[in-house]
């Protein structure tokens, strides 16, 4: 690996100061499970590596029933799935975090890094989109908030500007009778990248769906919010016909490619199957809430 300078600021102000000063030649590091591999391969060559794990706002996980979840960008996946409150309120996000790599990877990898890396196949991103998560960024010009579905602009590129830092993800509290779920397809049981991943969050009042959001991964150059499929469910009876209709609308929105993991045709098929299954899993959970 090339020579680097390492900085470990303990405050947001310091971190933004260092990032702003060095612009494109600086990069934050959370778990390093993407960044260090990319640096070793020479794909990214930052001169300054800024370790953001010593900043409280980036490592905290705080849930409040009224305001929801503040998930620090650098909190490792293991702290998400070992957190009983999150397992209770955001089981879909937890299952996505628990799918990333092995336990060794989950001890380091963060949801913030998963999003900032900008992969269309990042597992936690569709789960965040389903939950209506918002990314809070801080930079030299101040602070701004970006919806997660607008965060990734092309494979490997995000809205983050030089000097900016993703501080945390803001996730609304789950409404009564709601729940989320995430399911991906991979050709084996562990340790692979999603061929397709679908996240869903729904609210049921009796047999009626009153809110729904579906997020899709690995079906387009960026993770997507399946707006039409989600809206089609709202206000309707939640039954097999409604689920099938949503699945068809999700397939229409997907624009997958052929690659070594699967053909575009297979991916479209998977979007249908996984949209149905994820909605059913979320609904089963919602009925218990």
């Amino acid at each position: 690996m090339h020579e680097i300078h390492y900085e470990a600021p303990t405050s947001l102000e310091q971190a933004v100061g260092i990032l702003a000063k060095h612009g494109d030649s600086a990069r934050p590091i959370c778990g390093g499970t993407d960044l260090l591999i990319q640096m070793r391969a020479g794909v990214r060559r930052p001169h300054y590596v800024v370790d953001v794990k010593h900043i409280a706002a980036l490592t905290g996980i705080a849930f409040d029933p009224k305001s929801g979840l503040r998930l620090g960008a650098a909190a490792p996946c293991i702290e998400i799935f070992e957190n009983a409150t999150l397992r209770r309120h955001y089981p879909g996000l937890v299952e996505a975090a628990h799918l990333i790599g092995s336990l060794q990877i989950q001890s380091r990898a963060s949801v913030g890094g998963n999003l900032c890396n900008g992969s269309p196949a990042a597992d936690t991103t569709p789960a965040l989109i389903a939950l209506g998560a918002v990314a809070r960024l801080v930079g030299p010009k101040g602070e701004r908030q970006v919806k997660v579905e607008e965060f990734v602009v092309s494979p490997g590129r995000t809205v983050i500007q030089p000097g900016e830092l993703l501080v945390e993800l803001l996730i609304p509290p789950p409404p009564p009778h709601s729940a989320d779920a995430y399911i991906r397809f991979i050709p084996r049981n562990e340790m692979d990248i999603a061929v397709v991943g679908i996240g869903a969050a729904i609210t049921l009042e009796g047999d009626r769906c009153t809110a729904a959001r579906i997020g899709m991964g690995a079906v387009a150059p960026t993770p997507l919010f399946a707006a039409k499929a989600s809206q089609a469910l709202v206000g309707k009876k939640f039954d097999a016909v409604a689920i099938e209709n949503a699945a068809q609308l999700a397939i229409e929105q997907a624009s997958p490619i052929d690659d070594m993991r699967g053909t575009a045709e297979f991916r479209r098929h998977l979007v249908g199957v996984l949209t149905r299954r994820t909605l059913e899993r979320a609904a089963e959970r919602a009925r218990r809430n």
């Binding site: 020579e3 390492y6 470990a8 260090l36 591999i37 590596v49 990877i105």
Partner: protein, 157 residues
């Protein structure tokens, strides 16, 4: 050569101060600076688990951590598993069950298994397989490794 950075850490319960370059992985620091060569290098991409050590009790791939990131953390490596000449029960059971052939994967498996037994003293077979999913072995076919871990748990639990 780049400026070397002072890192204060605890390795196998001993306070250790070391100097390393910021670009060096923790794996390189262990092997090349501290000459603790028990931790192995396989893929350098987080896939094989040969470089597994414990950081604050959690299994991590030391190839995916910078040495400087060890500052202030507690590390456990394969060198700390035995007590003097007395092998750890996991090590003994790996020998009894013939759970290794070439041995390159073994330190990583032992550290992952230790993390598991520290957390779940009497794991099920499914739990053992799940916790070892980040470690690859090209020789044994895994079954003997799983049996050794279950046996070690039975004996100490």
């Amino acid at each position: 050569m780049a400026k070397r950075t002072l890192v204060e850490t605890v390795i196998n319960n001993e306070p250790v101060e070391l100097l390393c370059e910021p670009r060096q992985s923790l794996l390189e620091v262990l092997r090349d600076e501290l000459h603790m060569t028990g931790t192995k290098e396989g893929c350098l991409t987080g896939d094989c688990g040969a470089c597994t050590i414990l950081v604050d009790g959690r299994p991590v791939c030391s190839c995916l951590m910078l040495g400087v990131e060890a500052q202030g953390h507690k590390l456990e490596t394969i060198e700390g598993l035995a007590t003097g000449a007395e092998l750890h029960p996991l090590q003994r059971k790996f020998l009894e069950h013939a759970s290794l052939q070439c041995g390159i994967c073994t330190p990583g498996f032992l550290m992952s298994a230790k993390a598991l037994l520290d957390k779940i003293p009497r794991p099920t077979e499914a739990e053992v397989r799940y916790h070892l999913a980040g470690n690859l072995c090209r020789c044994t076919g895994y079954d003997k490794i799983v049996r050794a871990v279950l046996d070690a748990a039975r004996e100490s639990g």
